[in-house]
Amino acid sequence: MTWSLDSLSLLLLYSAMSVYTLAFLTFAVDLSRRRAPHPIEQTVATVAIPSATGIPGTGFGGRPTVSSPLEPQQVARGRASRVALALLTLGWLLHLGSTVLRGWDAGRLPWANMYEFSLTGTLIIVAVYLVLLMFTDVRYLGTLVSGLMLVLLGIAAVRYYVPVAPLQPALQSYWLVIHVFVALVATGFFAVAAAISGTQLLRSGKLARTKSAARAFAGLPTPDRLETAAYRLNLVGFILWTFTLIAGAIWAERAWGRYWGWDTKEVWTFIVWVLYAGYIHARATRGWNGTRSAWLGLIGFSAVLFNFGIVNVFFTGLHSYSGL
């Protein structure tokens, strides 16, 4: 009855996605209620959002402030983010269950085709985020992270799903465990760092200079701090990616008879490495920090996503394990 385990895994995945959706909405509510500890003049809100006319808010401006702005909102905000976190954790546990069942059904590690990569990769992104939360308050990232989860898992379930299949001989190697797992963890760090860079751009961009947005963004860390946080995560990601590249080369030597052959996947892994190397150099280059650095980080992460989502499926090469 091998198929029933897999269908249970799918059921858990859809449950996880529903819970992630709720987490996404709750995080969004939390974000919209964020305020500076001391609210900026009462008038700002009423000017910015003519709620009387029924025009919906922009999503950043939030609602018109109620009579006693500080107290109830602080409570509400705390509650919303706590609920959101609980939902995210629950979603992650369901997601974990789905991944474990998939691996159990296949009788191996669950990362041998696109569907399984996506399943495990997204699991690790949330794991990195949850671990990060233990060290520092990054609840403001929840909307971006859970939103990213929904998009990626949605694509995985709809476009990448394939039934459990045995491992082809080229993948039967312990390097599958090392190389792919480290690549997935690196991706997790790059993803959370990209979410921070995205926040940094919102925080420092034109949008943040409008009065209503300035209020909404006041609850977020300063662009400087966001940049530093993204840099540190990308640094860990870069070290892991370097290892991925080298482990991949060692495996390629064993499986294909050469450690480097400019296969499309190798090319893109190299491009990602070079982009993040550039990102790290940018930090020490005058005129290249701030917004430019954030853009570089986002370009790097786009290359990671491209390498995974596009190269695996649409490019011909030796890494054609998508199973599609």
């Binding site: 045995p166 001989p169 640094l235 070290i239 080298i246 450690y259 499309t264 982009l275 005058r286 190269v311």
Partner: protein, 495 residues
């Protein structure tokens, strides 16, 4: 830094086209196909070396410039670092409170004692320590994390090492491919390779003489999982390696992911397929052709395409082109196909052609292709004569009493790649050094710490300050810890 950054970004952008257009090095068939499909664009792309991106002038220019700038950076920094390694930590700044991390405390101890205790505490946590006197104030200046710069230099120097190792490996190594049918052998010599690509400085004399016999080639197929029935799950080539030094023959196994290290070469299992043994006889029964003919797989169920050329012995030169189906089945259109990759219902179909095969003029021709343009077709197609169809052991007569064709047995073949890269080990060593250097340079904090003791009327005012080079999330924590440890050490002395 700006140069390095711009060159890195340029390198990333320059690497992209090589993934969009097939490359001669990785996919030569893809390139010729591209030429067929896009006859207008292909020559233009070829002119800008788009099919050889990674050896193109422009790509090489970028990475060579990058490495020049890299070396231009490493050399002065190494010199500077060597000086710093022997130098005393720098003089204590006059205004410590301007440092990014700063704390004060007061003590009843004399400045001398405070400074002595600070020296001990800092030494114990791995700092290089020296003391300075400025006016009345005594101070300790300490520095740690020299390994950060060492790691940084190691990382960048090892990248240069990798580049050199890659270059040497490509220059002195070689790659060769050879198809071997079960029971056959191949000798590691230039002539016995099907294809051979030597490096620029490769010397034929360096080929170690050994022979390898393929005793058996086994494939396991998935039998349980209905979703992937027939997916190969294991390939094993059992081989015997004999070297010419007179050492006893060694039995070995080559698998995907488990290459055979034979002499100074590595032997990889790259592909496999079927080699039906086909015998052609003249009308009087004389054997004019008999061989295991490797048929090239065309799909996952190993529908395979092959060619037989019989230049002599028959009334006319004979060419046979056909398909081999390990498990034959028929589509509703009547076309044959293979539905399973193992030999459960093997069928060979052949179309016969007669005429000049075009192999007598001395120009080399592929054994896997038959140019039928000048030939007369005898069976199949529009001839109205059915194609020859054979199961193992069967014989069919060629039209016009030309002779007979027999399918004797079906063996498997394996295609091996033999590879030698004398600098491969060096590339690995430098890669490991790259990771090591990276870890050191990114994870070891480089910090300067100062403790200043200023005498006051009631005792001594203590100032603690820290400065980091590069990103250092733990700097404040480190200054805190120094402060606590220092006061604790002074306290202990008191008791």
């Amino acid at each position: 830094m700006r140069t390095a950054l711009l060159l890195l970004l340029a390198l990333a952008v320059a690497a992209v086209p090589g993934s969009l257009v097939p490359q001669r090095s990785a996919d030569p068939n893809g390139v010729s196909q591209y030429f067929d499909n896009n006859p207008e664009i292909a020559p233009i792309l070829d002119a800008v070396q788009a099919f050889d991106v990674y050896s193109s002038a422009w790509f090489s220019a970028i990475y060579l410039l990058l490495f020049v700038s890299l070396i231009g950076c490493i050399l002065p920094r190494t010199k500077h670092h060597l000086v710093a390694l022997r130098a005393r930590p720098p003089r204590t700044p006059a205004k410590l409170r301007r440092m990014p991390s700063y704390q004060t405390a007061a003590t009843t101890h004399t400045p001398e004692r405070a400074v002595a205790a600070a020296t001990t505490v800092l030494r114990r946590s791995g700092y290089r320590v020296t003391s300075y006197r400025i006016g009345d104030a005594l101070s300790v200046s300490a520095e740690r994390g020299y390994l950060r710069e060492t790691g940084n230099l190691l990382f960048h120097a090892s990248l240069v090492g990798i580049l050199i190792a890659v270059g040497l490996g490509a220059g002195f190594g070689f790659t060769g491919q050879r198809v071997v049918v079960e029971g056959q052998s191949f000798v590691n010599s230039l002539a016995s390779y099907d294809s051979f690509s030597p490096g620029r400085f490769f010397d034929v004399g360096r080929l170690d003489r050994y022979s390898m016999t393929l005793n058996a080639f086994t494939v396991d197929y998935e039998q349980q999982n209905l979703n992937s029935l027939g997916t190969p799950i294991d390939y094993t080539a059992d081989v015997t390696v004999t070297d010419t030094n007179g050492d006893p023959a060694v039995n070995a196994r080559v698998k995907v992911n488990e290459p055979l290290r034979a002499a100074s070469t590595d032997v990889y299992l790259l592909g496999n397929g079927y080699a039906p043994r086909i015998t052609v006889r003249a009308p009087d029964g004389t054997v004019v052709f008999s061989d295991d003919v490797p048929f090239l797989p065309q799909d996952a169920n190993l529908t395979s395409l092959g060619v037989v050329k019989v230049p002599d012995g028959l009334a006319e030169q004979l060419g046979l082109v056909g398909f081999f189906y390990p498990t034959q089945d028929q589509l509703t259109t009547g076309a044959y196909m293979s539905v399973y990759p193992d030999l459960t219902y093997p069928v060979l179909t052949l179309n016969a052609y007669t005429g000049d095969l075009g192999i007598d003029d001395g120009a080399p021709k592929s054994v896997y292709a038959l140019d039928t343009s000048g030939l007369a077709q005898l069976t199949g197609g529009t001839t109205g004569v059915d194609s020859l169809e054979l199961k193992p052991g069967e014989t069919a007569a060629l039209p016009g009493g030309l002779g007979t064709v027999t399918l004797d047995t079906v063996k498997r073949f394996a295609s091996f790649e033999v590879h030698s890269d004398p600098a491969q080990g060096w590339a690995l060593v430098f890669s490991i050094l790259v990771v090591l250097g990276l870890l050191l340079s990114l994870l070891i904090p480089r910090r300067r710490m100062w403790v200043k003791a200023i005498p006051t009327s009631t005792g001594t005012t203590l100032e603690y300050a820290g400065l980091a080079r590069g990103d250092d999330p733990r700097l404040n924590h480190a200054v805190d810890a120094l402060h606590t440890a220092h006061l604790a050490a002074l306290e202990k002395e008191h008791q």
